[in-house]
Subunit: 388 residues, 2 copies
Amino acid sequence: MHSGDPNGARQALLPAGLQDVLYPDAAHEAAIVEKLIRHVSRFGYARVKPPLIEFEDSLLAGPGGQVSEQTFRLMDPISQRMMGLRADMTPQVARVAVSRLAQEPRPLRLCYAGEVLRVRGSQLRPERQFTQVGVELIGTASRRADAEAVFLASDALLSVGVEGLSVDLALPTLVGRLFEVLGLSEQERQELRAALDRKDAAAVQQAAGRHADLFDGLLRASGLADEALERLMALPLPESVLGEIERLSEVIGEVRRMNPELVLTVDCVDHRGFEYQTGLSFTLFASGVRGELGRGGRYDAPRGEAEGEPAIGFTLFMDSVLRALPIPSEGRRIYLPSDSDGAFANALRAVGWITVTALDESADVYSEARRLKCTHLLVADRIEEVED
Amino acid sequence: MHSGDPNGARQALLPAGLQDVLYPDAAHEAAIVEKLIRHVSRFGYARVKPPLIEFEDSLLAGPGGQVSEQTFRLMDPISQRMMGLRADMTPQVARVAVSRLAQEPRPLRLCYAGEVLRVRGSQLRPERQFTQVGVELIGTASRRADAEAVFLASDALLSVGVEGLSVDLALPTLVGRLFEVLGLSEQERQELRAALDRKDAAAVQQAAGRHADLFDGLLRASGLADEALERLMALPLPESVLGEIERLSEVIGEVRRMNPELVLTVDCVDHRGFEYQTGLSFTLFASGVRGELGRGGRYDAPRGEAEGEPAIGFTLFMDSVLRALPIPSEGRRIYLPSDSDGAFANALRAVGWITVTALDESADVYSEARRLKCTHLLVADRIEEVED
């Protein structure tokens, strides 16, 4: 359709990674966004809506610093200060929590939906604009908060019909703490981290030296949660790190209690993409769907010079979520004569019909109805079907 | 609350005209946006969602040129071309219609909702970010299309509960055409336009010279539609301009047929804010509400070198629309113990309860429920009310 349109061709050219979402996709996306928000709202998460742009220094403070290179900058002609176009909403919601909502009781449950923009797309996500839907649970370090976040992310996705869902749990700070406790040198750390990132068992053994068994075991303690936990518990982990594994185990138990059928996996060496996370983190996948559906984890909501507030949250990426769902079929669509009764048309719309009213007299209303893609038409007060 | 928060104060400072929308306002806005979109969708308007940014030359083509000075510019590091952050969605939707949807049957009905950003706020609308909801009806010059746009804009607002609604109809090109037909000099035009803009009857008489009666009559032919039309019809209007008045009269008749109770007013000398309009235009007001709720009108959807397509549409401004509506009261909110039954909690949420689950053991669940602003709590399987 597009290439055959010389007039529009030049104008249709959008920047790479940006697109016009057409119908029915645009309507479907909006419906799913609102369903997800309604779902998390029922769990006490109150919706907030930060602006699309704000001052660079507040947008990129704390966790926001992670997306600094991905953030478009704009000059504010009023204040003459630099502003940023948000590349992530979590830092904004954290800012709202610790500033405008500082006096609200903790734990504070907030949710949001909105567009974010990135300077460049990634290989896995070439889009430069996408819709985020998420929650933040702020002011609590409780294990049950971790469980609520994992459960709620999966429950929200299940509520809109995602199938084949799995949640991959990670402890992105674990390996770093081990390095610390075991007193590894900077070079050992770099080699070992690289080997772990590649999941290269032989290289891990070599780089880990006297800790070969430990790190090899850590690498192998991946997969379905129960087996992974069993293997982790059997490892010769230092006391000071064991607590994190016990916490993971408790969170898994609590999530299982809320949804015994949820597929949970564990990967204890994964840390990429969790740069601002301070503890339990997780990624959501649907089998057969490209890209992650969402991710979440623990972080500190920064409070300027003061100590940050412990927080956990998750963000769902609507482009991936929509790839996991079928497009719903459109409703019945009826072509009405221009002088048709308003009350009758109202009644049709009230029960879900889409009405398309004629704007010009037409000799052949039947072919006009078909041309306008109507499934039905009103002729002499009778509803008739339009044949394909 | 804000001033008492030294840590958050610096970060809370947003650029002028930008704000964090908190709850319950953020939830209310989103609910009204979706209701409005659902309403217009039932009339066959298909939702589209253009990107927040696009190349400057496509964004500012045709009607978009009007908001050029209000548009933030960004450099695209990928294409090295200048992009704009949209200040209005109508030009984008018109672009989609004439490019990607060029082969779709006409009339083409599209709707949209989204955020727009402006470099500076105006006196009447200091906000620099606001939400637009609108429709475009493209590829028809029919009078019934004008009537459908006016009716649908008002019907959508009435459907969400706006009271005291009125629609002010304008013919922003009428005075200019009269100047043309009457052969007024550039200086006469400027003086007369200035006098008409000020609604200064004495100055109009003086500036209009031999056409004093005509322009004085035009100025006075404002107000409730029926009286205004009667006065307009009585004026010594040139034949070539009379057609516009007859068309206005027909559109009013058609809108009345669809909604006999709608308050319609006419102002034939109004043209400001309708710079890209090519015919009938309108503004929506609610009595006692600051600012217009929306505006619409005829324009040409540009097609590069080719002749534009005739179109009419309207945009609703959510900040004003929300000022015309009461904030709905929040639902019942129940505090649940951390180990409460998941199925029971699900059942509560399914019938509209908001559940807030305890994340820590608390000795006094009652005061904890109150602290977390719950209206109820679950104690020993019984729902109890929380007293204020």
